[in-house]
C-alpha cells in the first residue's frame, strides 16, 4: 500500500442555489485507518461523499481517491467499495441476483457472490427478494456489494443505521477485521457512541470542517466523551436556534 492519502479533500464546497451544503472542507484519510465522518443530519456528510465519488460536481475545491478524482482513477470500481445511503439494489431482485448483476459489471466470477454473502452472513437469505429484507439485512447486503471487488478503500455512508444492538456489534467487529486486513474505511455516521468505539480518526462536519484528526487527540482522557467534544465543536441544538 502506498503512502499516498487514500482520500484527500481540499477546499470542497457545494452550493445548491442559495444554500451552501458543504463549505471549504479539507481533510485527508490515511491508508489503513478507519475514519469516521461525523455530523448531524444535513451536515453535508453524504454530499461530501458523493463529491468524493464523482456523483456530484463540487462548486469549488477538489476531492481525490488515491491521488486522482474517482472518474480518472484506473480500476476505480475495483479499488473503492461503496455503500451509500440512497443507493438501493436493483428493483425486484433477490439478494443473490442483485449481487450477480454488480459482479458481472465488475467482471467477477459468480463464486465471488457466494463468498461475500458468506462474509456478511446472508447466505441463507440470498434467494429472497430484497424488498422483504429487514433494515439490518439491507445494510449487510449493501456491505456485500461494497466488498465484491475486494477493495482497498471502503466508503460507507451510515452503515449502522437501522441496525439492532447485535447488528451494531457485528458491524464493529466486521469493520475492524476489514481494517486489520489493511483496508482503509471512511464511514459517515451520526451515531457518536458507536463511532467512538470503532474509528481511529474522526472528521467532524457541520457544513464547515470542525475537526479532523485522531480520535485519541479529540477525546484524550477517560473523563471526556466524543459526544461532549462533538457538541463543543458543532454547538447544541439550542445554540443553533439562538444563532439562527
Amino acid at each position: 500500500m502506498s503512502d499516498t492519502a487514500a482520500v484527500s479533500v481540499r477546499g470542497l464546497t457545494k452550493r445548491f442555489g442559495e444554500v451552501t451544503a458543504v463549505e471549504d472542507v479539507t481533510f485527508e484519510v490515511r491508508p489503513g485507518r478507519i475514519v469516521g465522518l461525523l455530523g448531524r443530519n444535513g451536515a453535508g456528510k453524504t454530499t461530501s461523499l458523493r463529491m468524493l465519488l464523482g456523483l456530484s460536481r463540487p462548486s469549488s475545491g477538489t476531492a481525490t481517491v488515491f491521488g486522482r478524482p474517482y472518474a480518472d482513477l484506473p480500476d476505480a470500481a475495483r479499488r473503492v467499495g461503496v455503500s451509500m445511503d440512497g443507493i438501493a439494489p436493483m428493483p425486484g431482485t433477490s439478494g443473490r441476483r442483485d449481487l450477480r448483476i454488480w459482479a458481472r459489471m465488475l467482471g467477477l466470477p459468480a463464486t465471488r457472490v457466494d463468498e461475500v454473502l458468506d462474509k456478511v452472513g446472508l447466505t441463507g437469505s440470498a434467494d429472497r427478494k430484497i424488498k422483504g429484507y429487514s433494515t439490518g439485512m439491507r445494510q449487510r447486503h449493501a456491505l456485500a456489494v461494497a466488498l465484491l471487488a475486494d477493495p482497498e478503500l471502503l466508503v460507507l455512508d451510515e452503515p449502522a443505521n437501522g441496525l439492532d444492538p447485535d447488528g451494531i456489534r457485528w458491524l464493529r467487529t466486521f469493520l475492524r477485521s476489514l481494517a486489520d486486513e489493511g483496508r482503509t474505511i471512511l464511514l459517515s455516521s451520526h451515531l457518536l457512541s458507536e463511532v467512538e468505539q470503532t474509528v481511529d480518526d474522526v472528521v467532524i462536519l457541520q457544513r464547515t470542517l470542525r475537526y479532523s484528526g485522531p480520535i485519541s487527540e479529540l477525546v484524550p482522557g477517560s473523563g471526556t466523551s466524543l459526544e461532549e467534544r462533538f457538541f463543543e465543536l458543532v454547538g447544541t441544538e439550542a445554540e443553533r436556534h439562538v444563532d439562527a
Binding site: R50, L53, G54, L55, S56, R57, Y70, A71, A76, A77, V80, V82, M84, G86, I87, A88, P89, M90, P91, G92, T93, R97, R100, I101, W102, R104, M105, L106, G107, V145
Partner: protein
Amino acid sequence: MREVLNAEWLKAWSGRTWWIMGALGVFLGLLGSSGAAAVADQQIDSGATDAAAATAELIRSWFSVLLASVLFGALFVSREYNTGAISRSVLLCGSRTRLLAAKTIVGTAMGLVFALLAAVLAPLSLWGFFTLFGMDVQWSGEATLTLLGVLTVVTLAVPWGVLLGWIIRNQAASVTIVLVVTLFVDETLFRVLPAVGKFTMGIAMGAVYRDAKPEMLSIPLALLVIAGWLVLAGWTARRLLVTRDVK
C-alpha cells in the same frame, strides 16, 4: 464494455418490467388484431377490401407492441433513478458514456426480443382470427413488407424509450410523457399540421410499417427521420448524463 453489457443484459431480465411489458405488448397486439379481423370481415362482405389487403392490415395492427417497447426502454433507465441504483451503475461502469451506450445497445437487443415475439404472434393471430371469422388468409408482398416494418419499429422503439428515460430521469414522468407523446401529441400534430407532424417519431414509424395515411414520408426518408431523432436524443441524453449530478 463487455462486462457492462453483460450486467445490463441481466438487469433487463430482472424484476417485473420485462414480463409486464411483454404481456402488455401481447395484449395490445391481440386487441388490435382482433379488431382488425372484425373490421376486415365486414369490409370483405361489403366489397370494400380484399383478403390480401385484410391480411396485411391485421399484420399491421401488431405495431401497437411498440408502445410496450418504448415503455420498457424508458423504465429500463428511469427505474434505476427511482431507486438510486443508477448511482451504483455509474460508480461501477467505468464511465457514464459507456453506461449510456451499454443500456442503449442492450435496449436494442431487448427490442429485437419484443420484435421476435410480434413476429411469431402476428401470423398466429392472423391464422386464428381469420379462421374464427371464416376468412381466407392471402399472404402477399405487402404483408411481408408490413411485417418487416412492424418488426423494425418495435425494435427501434426500445432504444428510443431508453434515451427518453435518460433525459427524463423519473419513472412516473417518463411513463406519462411516453404515453402522451406516442398516443396524443404525434397524432394530433399530424392531423393539425401534417407537413410538420409527419416528421415526428410516431408518424415516421407509421410510415415504416406502411400505415396508409396521406402525406406520410417514404420509407427511406422515414427511417432517416427515426435515425435523426435517435441521434438527437442520444446527444441530449449523453450531455445531460455527463454534466448533471447523479441523484
